[in-house]
């Protein structure tokens, strides 16, 4: 487990062509660009379908089942309809910002998938700093959201966008710290090598890290219970209140593409990515992505929304210290006992996680509620 691997010290060299790839450099790029766009669109449709059906069943209903077989074409119908709706720009809006916002929000989400391995080496660019790249790129979408909030000229939008920025800035820290735990164990920043190194899924080796990462990821992409920026019951539709037609479709797409991206990253980092018996690797990857996404749907169905100050309190007072402790413990384990079987760490880490959560719950306070006015 060499932390100071040469990969980190070397200049940022890209391993663009996996060894078993038949074509040349450009074919690789072209193929994966098309594949990623198709993958994202299809996965988003699948995700929307899964969410609406799953949520329907959890609410003792059925969910869409009349459009196409089993309602499978429902997302298609929605997409076609939304794209052809009239496009409205409010008169009070800042026109340019209003126009640019969906694009700025959408591009980074698509770009995240460049480093996600669909199977061994099958990715657009096997960056040796892949995970860093993900962290860097994924927060750019916030700029788009804030532009939307500002450019709409609507107070609801602005409130939603401000909430989102605050949440993303705070949750970036525990999220990165949770990732560092994984990086220390695997000894690499490359997504592909993290997967190849996962003989035991890291969800077992890093249970606390997984929990922190999952919560932080939910907050970053505004899934419930942290969906404050849309907050249906408070801010009508949050930052995209004033968007209609195609631009709204892009925000809708971003919402689910982000969820899929985060699910894919969680599947890669903690659920051993494409690895699995019997089935082809890419199928394993998709299944794991959907399983993670399903958990997000599940929490969304069950949990009420937290308040903005509680959201902040959770990040800084609960997740941040726990992530630091987790990082510290992992580092000690890796440095002091580099050669011990990881199964021992599994048991130890689960115990540590349980004790930490119990302890921290005792002195953790979610912050004050009322302010004197």
């Amino acid at each position: 487990m060499a932390i100071f691997d040469s990969a980190l010290i070397q200049p940022l060299a890209m391993q663009v062509t996996p060894p078993d790839w038949p074509g040349g450099y450009w074919w690789h790029w072209l193929f994966f660009t098309v594949a990623i766009i198709a993958f994202v669109l299809i996965m988003v449709m699948g995700a929307i379908y899964l969410e609406r059906r799953g949520m329907g069943r959890m609410q003792s209903r059925l969910g869409p089942n009349r459009t196409g077989p089993f309602g499978l074409l429902q997302p298609v119908a929605d997409a076609v309809k939304v794209l052809l709706k009239e496009n409205i720009v409010p008169t009070t809006a800042d026109k340019i910002v209003h126009w640019l916002a969906p694009v700025v929000a959408f591009a980074p989400v698509l770009v995240i998938f460049a480093v996600v391995p669909f199977q061994n080496g099958a990715m657009l660019a096997d960056l040796n700093i892949g995970i860093l790249y993900v962290v860097a790129v994924s927060s750019i979408a916030t700029v788009g959201v804030f532009m939307a909030g500002w450019g709409s000229g609507n107070k609801y939008s602005l409130l939603g966008a401000m909430r989102n920025v605050a949440a993303v800035v705070s949750y970036e820290i525990p999220m990165v710290l949770a990732i560092v735990g994984v990086v220390i164990v695997s000894g690499s920043l490359s997504m592909n090598q993290i997967v190849t190194g996962q003989d035991i899924p890291y969800i077992l080796v890093q249970p606390l890290g997984f929990l922190i990462f999952f919560i932080a990821a939910c907050a970053e992409i505004n899934r419930s219970p942290f969906d404050l920026m849309e907050a249906d019951s408070e801010l009508t539709a949050g930052f995209h209140t004033e968007y209609s037609g195609m631009k709204f479709a892009m925000f809708y797409l971003v919402e689910y593409a982000e969820a899929i991206a985060m699910s894919a990253i969680i599947a890669t980092l903690f659920l051993s990515g494409w690895r699995g018996p019997w089935l082809p690797p890419w199928l394993w990857f998709i299944i794991k992505t959907f399983v993670v996404f399903f958990v997000m749907v599940w929490t969304r169905t069950t949990l009420p929304r937290v308040r903005i100050d509680q959201l902040m309190g959770l990040a800084w007072k609960f997740l941040f210290p726990l992530a630091l402790i987790n990082l510290f413990v992992t580092a000690i384990q890796v440095v002091v006992w580099p050669d011990i079987s990881q199964w021992i760490f599994v048991i130890v880490n689960i115990a540590i996680a349980a004790v930490l959560i119990l302890l921290w719950s005792k002195f953790f306070k979610l912050g004050q509620g009322r302010v004197e006015v």
Partner: protein
Amino acid sequence: MKFERYGIGIIKGMAVTIKHLLRHPTVTQFPDQRLNISRRSRGNELIWSREKCTGCATCAKTCPQGAIEIVTSTNMAENKYEVETYRVDTGYCIQCGLCVEACPYDALFMGYSYERAKYRRAELVQSNDELLESPSRPASGYFHPEIAETLPKQTLLVEKIVEKRKKK
């Protein structure tokens, strides 16, 4: 505010939702599966019997808003009223059933059917022969127990056991 129970409440709640995922949903898929509605259902129309009606206009007087318009003329030969126009604006009627309750000659019935949406406002005004009972306009058993007996038993959601019952 302490984070008191270490997430046990959250886990309990999530167990409830996942249990619902595995249960059969409560849904009746309306156009294909139909519920038997109540025998006393006050459907979205009024049914009028020309034979029984004597043109006393009790219904029009009882109607809390005057949705019933009735025009009569005297038939001196048979010594009774002839109903010339009997008009109900279904879009104005609120189906309170007071007219049916008040009719002294059992000449009014609430309708049993509810699929009465229209594209045009004017189509909602029904008069004379449009108000008579026909196979497409069955009468309901509201204030007419003899009709209620002939109608199918109401589907009750209580009787559809969706959830597994606990042992007592």
